[in-house]
Structures are given as C-alpha cells and as structure tokens.
Symmetry: C2
Subunit: 326 residues, 2 copies
C-alpha cells in the first residue's frame, strides 16, 4: 500500500474549498492509486459548516480517502502536511482600502507560515490561493525559516487555464492542442497573459491571431475574467479555481508534459530581470516535485513594460507588509 | 479519436449540477481517455447563471471537454444525448403538501420523458436525481414510448454510499474493504439500507456489528442523513450527491467489480415479489451498459416488512400521478 499523502486545505468550508476537497479525495490530484488524508482547517465560526463537508466526504465512500481531520487549530491542521493549500483569506469588505486588505491578510499568512514551519513535513509544498495570493505567499515563506522559500508558491493557474480557453475558442481548437501559454507577474489586474510563445497544433499563435487581438481583447479579458464570472453567476469562480488548484499541484507533484510548460507564481531569482524578493508568475516546467523557471524566452519592449508594471505592483505590496518579513 | 459521449444535465446551475458538471468534464465519469460534450439544460430564469457555469468550464481548459451547449430548450438540451441526468426539479416550498409536490414534478418529468423520447439517442441512459426521484423516473419512462423503460433509473447511490461510509466507520475499516451493500425501495424515509449481505474484508458484517445496531442506529441514520447534512452545512448535500451521480453512471456504463454490486432504482420486474409498475431500488450488477438485478438473496421477515413498506409508498405515489402514465 502506498503511504497516503497528507493534504491540508484552509478555508475548506468556502466555495473553492468545498469544490476542491471532493476532487482531491476522489484521486484527481495525485492519481487513482494514491491514497490521501485530508486535513481541513477552518476558522472557529465555520467549524459546523466544515463538519458538514466532512460528513459529505464520508458519504461519498471514496476508496482513496483514508482519513479526514476537521479542525480550527493550525498545529493540528498542518501536522505532517505534504501539501498545504491556503485558500482561506480575509475578503475585501465594503469601504476597505487595498492597503488594509493586504495588511489584514499579512497577519493571517504570517501566522500560517509559522505554523507550517513548525508542524508540516519538511518537504511540504505550499500553494497560496487566498488573495493577494502572491504577497501572501511571500509572507508565509518569510515566516517559515526552516523551509526553503521555493516550497511556497501562489496560484496563477486559473489565469493560465482561462487564457488557454480563450485562445482555443478564438482559434477554434481544443485546449489540448495549445502549448506554452504564459502568465507573467501578479495574480491581479497587472498580470500579463502572454500568448507570444504559444503553439496551436504546432503553429505559432501569432500566425493565427493578430497581436492587436491579443492586446485589445485577449489580455484585458483574462485580467477581468473574474468579474465577468461574478456578473454571470452572481458568485465568484469556485469550481474553476478548484480545478486550477488540482492542475497546479498535480503538475508540481507529477511533472509537466514534455514540450509544454505551465504558469506558477514562485519566488523570484533574477530570471527575466525580476530581482529577488517577491513572488512572481513565470512559465515553469516541473518534474518529480521540483519546478524550474523556463529560461531564454524573448521579451520584447511591449512584454518588458508589462512585466515591469506587475513587478512594480508586487514591490508596492511588499512595501506595505515589509515589517512582517524576516 | 474516440467519439465524444454526450451528457445532458438538467438543473446544471443548481448546487448538485454545479458540483457535477466539472467532474464529468474532467473525465471522472467515463475515464481519462473519453471525450465528452456537455449539454446543460436550465429553466429560463437560470440561463444567466448556467452561462456562468459554461464560462467556468471554459476556464478550466479541460482536455476532454469537446463542447458545452447551454440552453433552456429541451429539444436542444436532449439532442442525441447518450446520458441524461435529470437533477432539476421543483423543490418543496413552505406549506406545500407532498401530493402537490409529486403532481408538480410529474408535469416536469412527463415533459422531459417526451423530449428525451423525441430527441435523445435511442440508446440513451437516464438517471433521475430530482425528487421524488423514483416516481419521476417512472413518469419519464412512461412518456417515452419509443424507449425501453429499463433505460430510466433513479438514484439511490447516495444512500448506498452513505451506508458504506457508516459501516466502514463503525467497523473501523476502509470503504474499499466493504462489499455487497444494498439499498432497497424508495429514495425516501421508507428506504431500507440493508447490511445483512455485506462482507467486511470477507467477513459477514453481522459477525462484526449487531442487528440491533443496524436497526436502532444504522438504518435510521441513513434514512435521515440528508437532514443531518442540512443541519451542519445549512445547505443540502451537493458534492456528495454529484459524487453519487458519477458513481451510478460510471458503474452503469463501465460495469461493477466482480464479486460486488451497487444499488440502483430501476423498473420493477417481479424480482423479490415487487410487482411491475414502479421504480424501486435493488442490488444490481452492471456490465457494458446493462444492469441485472441480483437474484436469490435471502429476505427474512424483518426485511420483507421493510420492502413492503417502501413498495406501498411507491404505489401511493404512483396513484397520485396515474393519469400522467401511458
């Protein structure tokens, strides 16, 4: 029998967490032969609700789900975690300034970083989904002195998948036929969805669609897709966000396909001129639990200005919570 | 390339439909190599919401999802459907009598039966989830004169899985170690969850748990589990119901494991003394798209009285909508 993988999900009673837990437990994240143990961590006010999630998980009779732990104690929630998916975050309330949103979440994610440092597996891999995801990941990593910052990532996979969907739609192809999509920067309005390296059935995307289409339609639509979903559904993206979590972690754990890459927000290392000290989305390849930033892509002036804009935003976010960094 | 399987889901913007659509589209129902086309059928008032579901499906960049059709027209929604999952139903509103609930839904499901008859594949397989599921399935089948009534089933798989979960919990085993659970009768409070044939790691369940436990705890808990979930979550079961849909259809399409069976509500044929004319849950084995009721199980006096009670309820439901049957 394979050793079960322990997956901690915070905010598991929320819409994304609820959509995610069942997909992890049914084997979509690590494959049909890999048992999992779920540790669902919630705030005290959501304990009854997450208890209901636990009951529904039990009601699924899922053969791969070896155990489910429900708790509001981070020491229990992160204990021996192999993967920590940090979804729970303080949402922006009416009249709240962006600076306050960043500061409030910084407190949550610095505490979670410490708890992960103290209780999780030394090899834990962390994915931050709760916004502002990139800066929350930076804070968590900075508060986990015994871990490598590379173990902390933030999610731009939903943006990546959205971009694949839009390009597939525009070119009337299947998403499976498109490779080498890239999301650069922050998971925010400054993100840069970049189709310039994409291959559609082996043909460069810009042989099939114009750069004007990319600039005028594709890029802004991906940047604003979250709002478009809210308008249609009356609720923010949940199932698609959960799907992106599954994709992000599965690729990280099991690897990316040969000849393709995915987008992950990871600590900067100087690649593409983005200096250290922030968590920034890059094209990455993954193999057996490791990721490497794809090197050597051409960055033209237009792209450079987009990367700089997102970098600038992330450095501003960093400045707001500088006192919580170590 | 495999021909995509066309799956129609009604009520796709509701909680169960929302939890289900993404799991079907990601390959959980028919396996990782089988493309699917989703046809999401909603009532006109929910079109904006189901449009949002369609956008989120696009945002997942799922390689197996070849197309998504969003409509409020049953002629389009059921067109060439290989599988029709009927979730949308009129819920019980405050002060509504059970008789009125049955009558209101009978109108919906007789119309859907006709639409399926006229537009779906001749081999369509139908699963009714919307309550009262068994009688709704009976009505739909009766209004589809060109189809075999055996193509219409109702869902007791959630009850079946809940029963597996409870027995696994009680005996401290994994659900994968338990075989031959049975739900008999109606998907309602009169259902009879029957562990008397269960094997737990090969050992008869009643060598491990007492019949008194089954009667006093197990049976009533499964019957009332839906209410227990609502109390904890503040919402009815959604992800676990969607999971049961995946299980029901996957087993029907791809078969049940050797030596085990599942519970499905199917048209009665005289098996176990339940006369024709209702849709009743039995233990069934499935193989390549067909199901057979497991024959020859011993039914003691206690079990017989439970089967009769559920049969009586289903005949009463039938009497209420008799004028809609053909």
């Amino acid at each position: 029998m394979k050793t079960p993988i322990k997956v901690t999900i915070t905010g598991a009673a929320g819409h994304i967490g609820y959509a995610l837990a069942f997909r992890v437990a049914s084997g979509e994240m690590f494959g049909p032969k890999q048992p999992v143990i779920l540790r669902l961590l919630e705030i005290p006010q959501a304990l009854s609700s997450v208890h209901g999630v636990g009951m529904e998980l039990e009601d699924c009779a899922l053969p791969l789900l070896y155990d489910t732990v429900l708790t509001d104690d981070p020491a229990i929630g992160f204990r021996e975690a192999d993967y920590a998916i940090l979804i729970g975050a303080k949402p922006r309330s009416k009249g709240m300034e962006r600076k306050d949103l960043i500061t409030e979440n910084a407190k949550i994610f610095s505490a979670q970083g410490r708890a992960i440092n103290d209780h999780a597996s030394g090899d834990v891999r962390v994915l931050v989904v709760g916004n502002p995801a990139n800066t929350n990941a930076l804070i968590a990593a900075s508060n986990a002195p015994d871990l490598n910052p590379r173990q902390f990532t933030a999610m731009t996979r939903l943006d990546h998948n959205r971009a694949l969907g839009q390009l597939a739609n525009k070119t009337n192809n299947l998403v499976a036929d498109i490779k080498r999509m890239t999301i650069w920067g922050n998971h925010s309005m400054t993100q840069f969805p970049d189709a310039s390296n994409c291959l559609v059935n082996g043909t460069p995307a810009y042989d099939l669609v114009s750069r004007d289409w990319a600039i005028d339609h594709f890029i802004p639509r991906i940047q604003r897709r979250g709002a478009e979903i809210i308008e249609a559904r009356g609720l923010s993206s949940a199932a698609s966000a959960a799907d992106a979590v599954v994709d992000h972690v599965r690729n990280w754990a099991l690897g990316t396909p040969e000849g393709d890459w995915v987008s992950m927000s990871v600590p900067t290392d100087g690649s593409y001129g983005i200096e250290e000290g922030i968590v920034f989305s890059f094209p990455v390849t993954c193999k057996a639990g490791n990721y490497e930033i794809v090197q050597g892509l051409e960055i033209d002036d237009f792209s450079r200005s987009r990367l700089r804009a997102s970098e600038k935003e992330l450095r501003e976010e960093r400045a707001i919570i500088e006192d919580l960094l170590h």
